[in-house]
């Protein structure tokens, strides 16, 4: 019989609050995402200037991964299975704004490179030196069955030792990130019910 998989750690970013394994590590009343994420990044004393060049979705995903993985060793074989509802729409709208007016037509290359949702996974992969699988699903709601099956397959087929999964949603000022690490050891059993509760609560 297959050995069960577990969730070893998880992080959440929502409503100006960042937590790891349920413990708050940062909180601010700052209402604007831009100011909140900058404060949070500085608070974590992360030395990575490329953060400031990222779009908001990538900043959200990057920070959620950073607080979760900063004590992880051997990250090369961690796969990424991310999902959200709005894809890269937040950045798509900003980019559209730069090409909307023919008299003021200045498309920004730096904005354009973020007009794909899976770029945020790429930023995480680059930061942590991951060389495993990477996929990004877009659906109206967190699809626990798909994410569960995908993560389980990656580990059982030896394509990855661990899988960083979750929901990274952002559009304008609405944001929520829930990331969790699936592996062979952990505290909570990896089931569709567990991950649904983790992401949707």
């Amino acid at each position: 019989m297959d050995r069960p998989l577990y969730i070893s750690h998880y992080s959440k970013i929502e409503n100006g609050r960042i937590s790891v394994d349920g413990n708050a590590i940062f909180h601010t009343d700052e209402a604007q995402f831009f100011a909140f994420i900058k404060q949070a990044f500085k608070n974590q004393q992360i030395d990575y200037s490329k953060f400031y060049k990222m779009d908001n979705l990538s900043k959200l995903a990057f920070l959620a991964a950073e607080v979760l993985l900063n004590e992880e060793e051997d990250k090369e074989d961690i796969a990424l299975v991310l999902s959200n509802k709005s894809a890269s729409l937040d950045t798509d709208v900003k980019y559209q704004g730069s090409i909307q007016d023919a008299a003021n037509f200045f498309p920004s290359p730096a904005v354009f490179v973020y007009t794909l949702a899976n770029i945020c996974g790429g930023e995480i992969g680059i930061r942590h030196g991951m060389k495993s699988e990477h996929v990004f699903f877009v659906s109206d709601e967190f699809d626990a069955v798909t994410i569960f099956n995908y993560a389980t397959y990656l580990i059982k087929s030896l394509k990855a030792k661990k899988v960083l999964c979750g929901w990274v949603e952002l559009f304008e000022e609405n944001y929520k990130a829930v990331l969790y690490l699936v592996e062979e050891r952990g505290t909570a059993l990896h089931t569709t019910d567990t991950i649904n509760k983790l992401v949707k609560n």
Binding site: S49, Y52, K53, F106, P107, S108, P109, A110, V113
Partner: protein, 85 residues
């Protein structure tokens, strides 16, 4: 020219989101790429957009960029000679 250089440094910091760098940190002769400010290829494209948007300069030959974007000195010199706004 000095005013243009200071203005240019501010615009570079703004458009390239160089959060931890101030105008005072950039020397006129600092290399913008490589060991200097450490800009990358996407930054180079943003600088081309900056020339167009702020100074009305369209670079027809991308190869020109290498010498133009060498430093603030070379950028300011090129802008002063070619600006249309």
């Amino acid at each position: 020219m000095e005013e243009l250089k200071e203005e240019l440094k501010g615009k570079i910091i703004e458009v390239l989101n160089l959060e931890d760098i101030s105008v005072a940190d950039i020397d006129d002769s600092d290399a913008l790429f490589g060991d200097g400010l450490g800009l990358d290829s996407i930054d180079a494209l943003e600088l081309i957009v900056l020339l167009d948007k702020e100074y009305g300069i369209k670079l027809s030959d991308p190869k020109q960029g290498k010498s133009i974007f060498e430093s603030v000195n070379t950028m300011a010199d090129y802008i002063a000679k070619n600006r249309t706004k």
